[in-house]
Amino acid sequence: MRQTVHPKLKQELMEYGIGDWNACFNCGTCTAICGLAEGGFLFPRKSIQSIQMGLKEKLKQSVDPWLCYYCGECSETCPRDANPGELMMAVRRYLTNIYDWTGLASLFYRSKLALFIGFLLVLIAVITVGFIEGFEKEALMHFGHLFEQYVILAVFTLILLPNIFRMFWLTVVKQDVKAPLFSYITGFWHLIWNMFTQNRSLKCETGNFRWFEHFLIVIGYLLLLLTTVFLGWFSTENTFIIWLGYIVCGLVFIFTFDFMIDRLRKNKAVTKFSHISDWLFVIWLFLLGLTAFIVRLFIDTNLIDNNLWLYMIHLIVIAQWGLLLVPFGKWTHFLYRSFAMYFAYLKKSALEQESNITY
């Protein structure tokens, strides 16, 4: 398949924060060192090549960037300090907006102002709601509970699913990957498994602790979602659920806190360059855990009635999270990455089939 070179591709990617791609001279050390790169998925090298040569289509259609967990090994070993790790990150940002049909993702990625306004609007909206509800606890809590459920539903059906389909379209259909049908099913199990364990990142050089952290956050986050949204954590008397709630949001804010410290210390390659979207993700996740924790604490200590503002904050954080960060922010990476692995799996099984045929 002959591809046309897009001379301006680099400029486009600049806006998503690719580093000094010029420096790279394609030695391939990055790919050699990478624990995840394998036949057919030779990143970061191939991805950088595509960028350097302006192979837009190829870049858009590749799942490689999602297979990378940004352990930073490549950036540390790069002889020309081209920082491939961060570059992959930037490509992921770029891809999220390629997948996103609303175009908001790219807007938020590129303009801080837009982002600020977005957050402001949501804040105002929530406060207005609170005002309408007359700042009455039961009503607000009820509203909040419903809001969470509907938003999640809406965001999923209206934004994330279409985007994932777009991703599927680009990476599988456009590349006409001829995967055997059964692999769609077997692959699905992969999808789920990876989504929750992200255990591929164990292959990374950074080793198990980072994975463990991530794992706990993911589990924590998902359980938090479960407990608050579906088990009505804030309005239950079931001690098990309550305690579970405490633990999970504890997990969430503790580890996110740790992440933030890392990012401030900048001592790991991963944490050297943190894009704003990245910051927001961590901070909001942290706030999410923290506020939820405190809110429940207040409920149990019956302080909540006089301190409804606290729940308001929690609500605002949730709203901003749910409406901005989840559909358009880094949260999507969690989704895309998992699906990328699914598609990658399809690709692999397609390759295998081919090679079997050729035998």
Binding site: R2, T4, P7, K10, N22, K46, Q49, S50, M53, G54
Partner: protein
């Protein structure tokens, strides 16, 4: 002729010979031969102790013939001849057997190699028995120098010599000095302006009292020999002039490759596919524009055009890669946000400052793409309406394995270097030889790179092989130092291995006369014999073989010498003493 007393010396050349030839054995065997007085083997005959060994033997055993069996006579014959002279022996009473280039380096079976070496040495011994003293004629050097070609090499040489107060005749076939360099805008790696280097030099040459410049002029046959050449030049000026000079510097330079023979690049089909020469012109004018007068949005630079490809030229043209980088920089400066694509076979940024130039360039948003220079050249095609570009370069990128279409508005072809069309004429005129691709051959690729096999004729610059400014200038100055050396000596010894007619035998059949390529033989009707003019004779020996009577003797290559050499070559049983 006195009884020969022969000294035989077998050289080890370290292990170069010794490892493949049993030198002791050969030396021992030679002792059996008639007239061999001493026969030795030694580590390095060419070393001073080695030569002293010969000299000592000559004095002590009053040897009158010497055979050294070592490397090629083309390398060390002169060395040993000197040694003989130092020992007061005529330097032609010497013969060399080449058992390195022709034996130890090319054979693998030690026994066979030794046998061969043996027979070569025997041949040399048999031959040397019939060698005769030849007195070197030393002729006065005419201090004037003829320089053919007014490029940077020629100009440099001319100034160097003229500065020492010696006359220089500078011959240029075009109507201006400067050669190919005159077309160039900036020079890599330092991006210094060429005309700042060149123009003052040209000016100086034109003004210099000791330099006589002939423009639009080509030379005729060059007659004579080192120190005393002469030629007839015929320029546009109707007056034909005869120049006399002692040395010749050939600096005829190169000719850019004509890319129109490469179908892939469609040169001439697309107006915006241009050669590096044309591009330099653009740069000089300071406006990089397509034929539509617009600044190109994307520019492709294709390397190795006509070089390193069996269909065109096998060799590397040396200057293109760096020029390509140079252009990338100049383009980037002129068009900050244009896409610039370097399409190369291999990036050879050799030489001082060039790798640095490459590293610098690679950071300036230049896209480097590799293609298969030998089997899969990129192809330039017309662009579609929606591509909004002049052309598409179709290239199979080697590193990524991608098949790409690059939209470009301009393509610069880095055309390679070729020998001049009239290279052969010049070679014949001055009597030097050419290698396969009609660049001139130096006397020795490493040890004597500017001299040629014809004494007094030197080759500098790209006529010897593609070169940049630096190398050309170096060679020019190297040749000049050689020439000034001979001029300083005032005289030079000329070869005397010429043909000579034995008037007692010559019957005047005149077979030889039209055989001589140098019209050195004339007929003396008085005596009814042919006469050789030894000044013109270059000693090829063709007349000697044409002479039906054997009256013509080719000195140092007489029938007797060669026949006995053949005998020696074939005789292996040595009990014939």
């Amino acid at each position: 002729m006195e009884e020969p007393r022969i000294g035989v010396y077998i050289c080890w050349c370290g292990t170069n010979i010794a490892k493949m030839v049993d030198v002791e054995y050969v030396a021992e065997e030679m002792k059996k031969l008639q007239n061999v007085v001493v026969s030795r083997n030694y580590k390095y005959m060419c070393s001073d102790p080695g030569q002293d060994l010969i000299i000592k033997d000559i004095k002590e055993n009053n040897l009158n013939r010497i055979v050294v069996s070592a490397c090629s006579p083309r390398i060390h014959e002169l060395t040993f001849r000197k040694a003989l002279e130092n020992a007061g022996l005529n330097s032609y009473l010497f013969e060399m057997a080449n058992i390195r280039e022709h034996v130890s380096w090319v054979h693998t079976d030690r026994k066979e190699a030794t046998e061969k070496a043996k027979s070569l040495v025997i041949a040399a011994i048999k031959r040397v028995g019939f060698h005769e003293s030849l007195d070197k004629r030393s002729v006065d050097i005419n201090p004037a120098t003829l320089i053919i070609g007014g490029g940077i090499a020629g100009i440099t040489a001319a100034l160097e010599i003229a500065e020492t107060g010696k006359q220089v005749y500078l011959i240029e076939k075009n109507n201006c000095l400067g050669g190919n360099l005159a077309f160039v805008d900036l020079s890599y790696p330092d991006m210094s302006s060429v005309h700042q280097i060149l123009d003052p030099k040209i000016e100086k040459v034109n003004k210099h009292p000791n330099i006589k410049v002939f423009l639009n002029t080509e030379i005729d046959e060059v007659f004579g020999y080192v120190g005393n050449f002469e030629t007839k030049i015929n320029g546009t000026a109707e007056i034909e002039e005869i120049l006399k000079f002692g040395n010749v510097i050939v600096a005829t330079g190169l000719k850019p490759f004509d890319p129109s023979v490469i179908p892939e690049y469609a040169y001439g089909k697309f107006p915006d596919v241009i050669t590096s020469i044309e591009f330099e012109k653009m740069l000089k004018e300071g406006a990089i524009k397509t034929k539509y007068g617009k600044a190109p949005k994307n520019v492709g630079i294709i390397h190795c055009v006509g070089s390193r490809n069996n269909n065109y030229n096998e060799y590397c043209s040396r200057t293109c890669c760096a020029s390509g980088l140079k252009y990338a920089n100049q383009l980037r400066d002129a068009l900050p946000d244009a896409g610039i694509y370097e399409l190369y076979g291999d990036m050879r940024a050799f030489g001082k400052g060039c790798e640095e130039l490459y590293t610098e360039t690679s950071k300036k948003d230049i896209v480097f793409m590799m293609f298969d220079q030998r089997n899969d050249l990129p192809r330039i095609k017309t662009s579609g309406a929606k591509d909004n570009c002049n052309m598409i370069i179709k290239v199979n990128e080697k590193l990524s394995g991608e098949k790409l279409n690059i939209p470009v508005d301009m393509v610069v072809l880095l055309v390679g270097a070729q020998a001049q069309d009239n290279a052969k004429d010049i070679a014949h005129a001055v009597g030097i030889s050419m290698c396969g691709n009609s660049f001139y051959i130096e006397r020795h690729p490493k040890l004597d790179p500017v001299a040629t096999t014809t004494d007094g004729v030197y080759i500098v610059g790209s006529c010897q092989g593609p070169k940049g400014i630096i190398d050309s200038v170096c060679q020019a100055r190297a040749a000049v130092s050689r020439i000034l050396g001979t001029i300083a000596q005032g005289s030079v010894q000329v070869e005397v291995t010429t043909a000579v007619v034995n008037e007692d035998i010559c019957c005047g059949c005149q077979t030889c006369i039209c055989v001589c390529p140098y019209t050195a033989i004339s007929f003396d009707a008085e005596k009814n014999v042919s006469v050789v003019n030894e000044v013109l004779c270059k000693g090829c020996g063709t007349c000697g073989s044409a002479c039906p009577t054997g009256a013509i003797r080719c000195r140092h290559f007489t029938d007797l010498q060669i026949l006995s050499q053949i005998e020696g070559l074939m005789s292996l049983e040595l009990e014939e003493v």
